[in-house]
């Protein structure tokens, strides 16, 4: 194979995942949180594609496409939630949404 080994791709995927996790944990705007979740999903996709190339089987790519479809569905619902929140004049701030407090 030309270019870097699979390991380089896997490291990129790991960094993507971590950056996405940081975004989820440290940002207060739900939109940005959703975007960070997308980054994490893409990191996972990259790992799947890399392993698929390693083993020479296309199953990893099939899995990656499935992930993409699910991610799309999730974004639909998440954005719907955010729009509904803003329509009810709720603050778009995850810290302020704590009515599940026990």
């Amino acid at each position: 194979m030309l270019g870097p080994d699979i390991t380089w791709y896997l490291v990129v995927s790991a960094i993507l995942f971590s950056v996405g996790a940081l975004g989820v944990l440290l940002r207060r705007s739900p939109l940005i949180v959703l975007l960070s979740v997308e980054i994490m999903l893409n990191g996972a996709n990259l790992a799947l594609i890399a392993f698929s190339r390693l083993h020479g089987e296309s199953d990893g790519q099939v899995f990656a496409i499935t992930v993409m479809a699910v991610a799309a569905s999730e974004v639909v619902v998440g954005l719907g939630l955010i729009v509904a929140m803003s329509r009810r004049n709720l603050a778009l701030d995850v810290d302020r949404l704590n009515s599940l407090r026990g």
Binding site: V94, L97, G102
Partner: protein, 628 residues
């Protein structure tokens, strides 16, 4: 055979009466309850007579029948059936219990008339008669113990009958607890017996004598403990005077004629083991003699008429214990019979007085009742003479035969005869002190005020049994006049061979001495209380000691009651409240508080939840990677 069937009827008809009264509840009238109870016990008596006649027709050597209804408890090789034993001894006791019992239950119809809880009374009385019959008819030790416990229960229920009186409740508890101590020693003896022979039949008692003298002595001692508690002998005697809180017919039936004599019956029935453990049997006789003396002394200073009679009972049972303790079984049982007559008579006559004086029992407030209640007076006099043992009344024949038999028993017997004779003097003194205080002298102010002066002394239902018992006290002793005719001894001999045979001169000596001392006691009482020639001796220290019942109650209070109360209070304070109640509360409080702490995790703060997810993921990856 007829005697067996009749015996089952005797046993079950009082039970049927008790059940009928209980189920009838308030649907039957109060008087009807009394009639039902009396009928039940009378039927029992009639059946007992039938059984008696039938068994007389049998050969004396083959008069013992054990009839088992069904196996009650079976476990491995252990087998205890629901069985009754029909033999001369049990028929003897059946006749006494049901006969005297039906007279007293009939008397109660008049005595308890008007009481709100009359039905409960008669149910308890019928239950008691059944329990006592179960005790004497029980075909094995387990049933005997069952009857034993049931009579204790009935006694408790009846002593505490007037439950609104705290003194009655306390007396009932005291009686029950002291009896429970005896029951415990009895049960321990049974356990030993079962451990060594695996059976509770009466035959097992003869088997176990082969197991060595320690075991035999322990078993006999345990059985004696039960007998001593039930018969109110020293040292378990303090409950009997307090038991006078119960209604007078209860005192007559339970605490004079029947229950307290159960100990005597027990020793006769189980004589084989007592003979094997002869130390214990001698000990029983010694206890009897000590009780006889102590009770006689305390009776001299009592002011309550029922208590005098109660101590007298204690004393007379002491005589019976001396008799059976020395092996004169038939003599002891004969005294049991005559004692039932005249003691019940005394109690019931006292009941007539108490009833007439609207509940007063203090002799100092009575006096001169001789003219007011002549019938009662004459019956009471007959009973007193029978008690002291003056011929031709009943007590003479039975008591003196015990003393005579004791003379045949060596040194111990001789000492006990001296004690017994001293007791006879005391009996004469306290009995006639009571008679003179109540009936002679001038009529007390109280009697004049409170006497229900409507012509007759009491209702007929009360006077008839008193009269019947008076007749029995006159003629009842004549059924055995040793050495001339001895049907009682002959009847009971196959069951329990006597260990002592009094020769003719012993009989004469004993009789003369006893009668003389009895008359001396009567004379002293007459001089002090009737003719007022002498003053009652001051002897303050002795008097106070006797009034305190020789400090037995104080002693028991110090040894048993106070430590128990202290322990109960300490346990309440240091264990019950903090640990048990505290843990119950603590569990609730702890659950709530831990819940409150746990709920602190639910902050509703979304990012914290996400952080928990991420941290968990990091840890899990670590775990999976390291644990390859």
């Amino acid at each position: 055979m007829t005697s067996v069937y009749a015996s089952w009827i005797t046993l079950l008809s009082p039970l049927a009466a008790a059940v009928a009264i209980t189920l009838g509840g308030t649907a039957i009238s109060r008087r009807a309850a009394g009639v039902v109870a009396t009928t039940g016990t009378s039927v029992a008596f009639a059946a007992a007579v039938v059984a008696f006649i039938d068994i007389l027709g049998e050969d004396p050597e083959r008069r013992s029948h054990l009839d088992t209804a069904w196996t009650w408890l079976g476990a491995g090789k252990f087998d205890a059936g629901l069985a009754i034993l029909v033999d001369p001894l049990s028929i003897f006791m059946m006749l006494v219990v049901s006969g005297v019992g039906s007279l007293i239950v009939g008397y109660s119809i008049g005595y308890m008339d008007g009481d709100d809880e009359e039905r409960r009374y008669f149910a308890y009385m019928a239950l008691f008669v059944f329990s006592m019959l179960l005790l004497v008819q029980g075909g094995n030790l387990l049933l005997l113990l069952a009857g034993w416990g049931l009579v204790g229960l009935s006694s408790y229920l009846l002593i505490g009958f007037h439950h609104e009186r705290p003194s009655a409740i306390a007396a009932a508890k005291k009686a029950f607890i002291m009896n429970a101590f005896g029951d415990a020693t009895f049960a321990l003896a049974l356990f030993l017996l079962i451990a060594h022979t695996g059976s509770v039949s009466f035959g097992a008692l003869e088997e176990v004598t082969g197991a060595g003298s320690t075991v035999t002595n322990l078993i006999a001692l345990g059985l004696l403990g039960g007998a001593v508690a039930k018969s109110a002998q020293l040292p378990l005697h303090t409950w009997l005077p307090d038991a006078m809180e119960g209604p007078t017919p209860v005192s007559a039936l339970i605490h004079a004629a029947t229950m307290v004599t159960a100990g005597v019956y027990l020793i006769v029935r189980l004589h084989s083991i007592f003979e094997a453990a002869d130390v214990v049997q001698d000990f029983a006789a010694i206890l009897g003699a000590a009780t006889l003396l102590v009770a006689g002394l305390i009776a001299l200073v009592q002011t309550d008429i029922k208590r005098v009679i109660a101590y007298s009972t204690m004393s007379q049972i002491g005589y019976m214990f001396v008799g059976v303790g020395l092996g004169a079984y038939a003599n002891g049982m004969f005294h049991l019979l005559t004692h039932a007559f005249f003691k019940a008579l005394l109690f019931l006559a006292a009941g007539v007085i108490i009833h007439a004086l609207a509940g007063e029992q203090d002799m100092r407030r009575m006096g001169g009742l001789r003219r007011l209640m002549p019938f009662t007076y004459w019956c009471f006099l007959i009973g007193s003479l029978a008690l002291v043992g003056i011929p031709p009344f009943a007590g003479f024949f039975s008591k003196d035969s015990i003393l005579a038999a004791s003379l045949d028993r060596g040194t111990l017997g001789a000492i006990l005869v001296v004690v017994g004779l001293a007791g006879t003097f005391l009996t004469g003194a306290y009995t006639f002190r009571m008679l003179y205080l109540v009936f002679h002298g001038s009529r007390s102010a109280y009697a004049t005020e409170h006497h229900l002066d409507d012509g007759h002394e009491g209702p007929l239902t009360m006077l008839v049994p008193v009269g019947a018992l008076a007749v029995l006290s006159v003629i009842g002793g004549w059924i055995q006049f040793a050495p001339f005719w001895t049907p009682v001894s002959d009847f009971l001999a196959p069951v329990a061979e006597p260990l002592a045979e009094a020769s003719n001169w012993m009989e004469v000596v004993a009789s003369v001495a006893a009668v003389a001392l009895g008359l001396a006691g009567i004379l002293v009482a007459w001089a002090i209380y009737d003719a007022r020639r002498w003053r009652a001796p001051r002897w303050t220290a002795a008097r106070r000691a006797l009034e305190e019942k020789l400090y037995w109650d104080r002693l028991y209070d110090r040894i048993f009651y106070s430590p128990a109360v202290w322990l109960a209070r300490a346990t309440l304070r240091w264990f019950e409240r903090p640990v048990i109640a505290g843990s119950a509360v603590g569990i609730g409080v702890g659950a709530r508080e831990s819940g409150e702490i746990a709920s602190e995790v639910q902050t509703g703060y979304l990012r914290a939840y996400a952080l928990a997810l991420a941290a968990g993921l990091a840890i899990l990856v670590l775990v999976f990677v390291s644990v390859r």
